[in-house]
């Protein structure tokens, strides 16, 4: 079973917040993270890792199905760099 938003909401609920408040809090937290990345600002979480926004420049690509040349526009991507501590835990 995968970890979903629902399970995180349940754990917040266990702190004593109402169900609705727990949902709101988790949504707020997700919004804060997305908002920061949207502004191009990295999100650093000590002990977990960092979420970075990287700029990709325009490049020439190819449609793998048809073989037609195409230009891929410059874009931004979000990358994740795992912290040493988390990496160690995963490999334990």
């Amino acid at each position: 079973m995968a970890l979903t938003k629902n399970k995180i909401v349940e754990r917040v609920n266990d702190l004593g917040f109402t169900k609705k408040k727990s949902v709101d809090i988790v949504e707020s937290l997700l919004e804060i993270i997305k908002d920061s990345l949207e502004k191009g600002e990295d999100v650093l979480v000590s002990g977990f890792g960092k979420f970075c926004v990287k700029n990709k420049s325009t490049r020439r690509g190819r449609n793998p199905a048809t073989g037609a040349d195409l230009t891929l526009d410059a874009r931004k991507v979000v990358t994740f760099k795992c912290s040493g501590k988390l990496r160690e835990r995963i490999n334990r």
Binding site: I8, L15, I25, I32, K34, V45, S46, V78, R89, R92
Partner: protein, 91 residues
């Protein structure tokens, strides 16, 4: 943005105490770290998903010296950006 700034922002946004905000940020990342350390997948709609990728042992090379090195089996979390986030960073 770091964890402290995230806690302050959550305190303000959700109208809760700083202590509560700190607890929630901790629960959020601890839950994810716990799942990954058990090899469990994570799916946070709109933000991202993670899965643990297993790598077998292989012989690599030190790119500086060209020396052969044995790389032990390892596991690494693999990050996939969610649709909403991907669209928003490119607005």
């Amino acid at each position: 943005m770091n964890k402290l700034e995230m806690i302050s922002a959550l305190k303000k946004e959700a109208d809760i105490s700083k202590f509560e905000a700190a607890q929630i940020v901790q629960i959020f990342f601890d839950s994810m770290a716990d799942s990954l350390s058990e090899g469990e997948r994570i799916e946070i709609r709109g933000l991202c998903s993670f899965f643990v990728k297993k790598y077998k042992s292989y012989t690599g090379r030190n790119p500086k010296t060209g020396e052969k090195v044995r790389i032990n089996p390892k596991k690494l979390p693999f990050f996939k950006c969610g649709k909403e986030l991907r669209e928003r960073v490119n607005n």
